[in-house]
Amino acid sequence: MLNVSDLHVAYGPVLAVRGISLTVPKGQIVALLGANGAGKSSTLRTISGLQRPTHGTIEFEGRRIDNIPAERIVQMGISQVPEGRQIFTDLTVMENLRLGAYTRRDGAGIKRDLDRTFTYFPVLGERRGQTAALLSGGEQQMLAIGRALMAKPSLLLLDEPSLGLAPMLVREIFRIVKAINEEEGLTILLVEQNANLALEIANEAYVLETGQVVLEGSAEELRGNEAVRRSYLGY
């Protein structure tokens, strides 16, 4: 579904990504693991069009998308849950979700997806009229995911959904993400520092270090890998 090959990304003179290649097959969850600064978020930002690559190609369902601006990439079916959630804090939960469907014009479909979002995240339904700033961290993360789902994506990019959340909440969110993947067949590219959790729900994973892929394989393989265990899983 998504093919990234030899991707380079630079901010001014600083190279954040140098030659990453990866593949996300349809219906799977693929995890990008690695420490802070490994180039994970930059890769996601480049796929979603927020950042232009300096070199390399990105193909989505057979089409080159590496030179298409972010607002059009959403229309093509890629939706990103950005790092730090980036919800519209001054708007209500409902307004946030309506904005998620900004590119769509199918009223009935939007209504259906709204109900679906509320099924996955009942708390959002309860608080639909509330200003998003008043939500807890976990609820804000759910809102960010819900907002991304409202665009009816075929590929969801999830950037550090566990950031700053209590472990219990993180489990809950990961459970829902997995459920969405299984029930809807939604393809997910997940960036996570918490490798343990990510490998639990992912089918495949890539480990990044200083902007390059140092390891790749199925989730089980990586869980069994000595180096990964020592560096990222902590046992």
């Binding site: 901010y11 001014g12 003179p13 600083v14 190279l15 954040a16 990504v17 140098r18 802070n36 600064g37 490994a38 180039g39 994970k40 978020s41 930059s42 930002r45 950042q51 950005p82 790092e83 730090g84 980036q86 200083t210 902007g211």
Partner: protein, 365 residues
Amino acid sequence: MAAALLRPRTLGFALLAVVLVIFPYLHGWPVFSAFISEFRTFNATMLAVWLLVVLSMNLLTGYSGQISLGHAAVVLVGAYTAGVLVDQLGVPLPLAILLAGVFTGIAGGVIIGLPAVRLAGPYLAIATFSLVITLPQILKMGGIRNWTNPSRGISIDAVQPPGLVDGFLDERQWLYYITMATAVFMTILAWNLVRSRIGRAFVALRDSEIAAEQMGINVPLYKALAFGISSFYAGIAGGLYFMVLAFVHPESLGFLDSILFLVAIVVGGLATILGSIFGAFFLTFQGELIDELATIIPEAEKLRGVIYGSLLIVVMILFPRGMAGFVQDLVRTLGRITAARRHGGLSSNPPAQDDTNGESDAQGR
């Protein structure tokens, strides 16, 4: 040791010191007299005053992120405090200036800083703007008008050089030296301040109040402190302003000046000492610059506003970090070229950087 003395930076500062010391005499020297008039000594004196004003503004807005449209009022408080102390109470001028700084600093920290703690952005700007509107009226009010003399203002005799140096220096040169010395001293002080724990707390506050709080910074305290320190600088600047012009009036500094101070820190370069120096040059010479342009370009006199505005916009677009940013980029580029030449090629790949870089607008605006 000798090598350290020869470093370009050290040499630069030494050269700057020499220029500052000999400047009031340059207009009398053969070559220089062609393009430096005696009046430039007065320009340079005002430049020192404006430097303190711009530093004051930069400490508050550039470093701490508190936008003030009322800074002219704060400087005016300093000038008036010095004026009243000298005129009414017979306090010696240097002491009066110091007291003006202290008084303005405390007043700024308490009267503006504490209430301003809850305000931000345009709300703070308009609240401080209220100061500029109301202060002249307050100075004219019943209780204090006997001190402030709003109809004619307060004037003093021009400062005379003390007996010791009399004969070597005329009044203009004497004013220049004491004003410039104060400005240089306080610039060095500011340079140290912004690199201290307090300065770093200011910057943290500016970048994100929430993050600053999480880092254990007492946000209200440091906000008030930013106003206090900034007002101290403004108060000293006001005192010097009074000394240099030997005059102060409720309308001496107003709304227009407040706006110009804001323009000066942005055009000079936010949150840098170098930028403050450029800002001071801007304040001193902006009027003259436009006058000069008007004599070169035909019809320009009628298009003054258009030229001025266009220049502002062009500078903002071409040099988003002000003149200081431009100079820093220039130095860096030159450095890279020399380094490349020395190593016989471009430097190798820089290291990968933190993921979050480049997310300049991540927080919205």
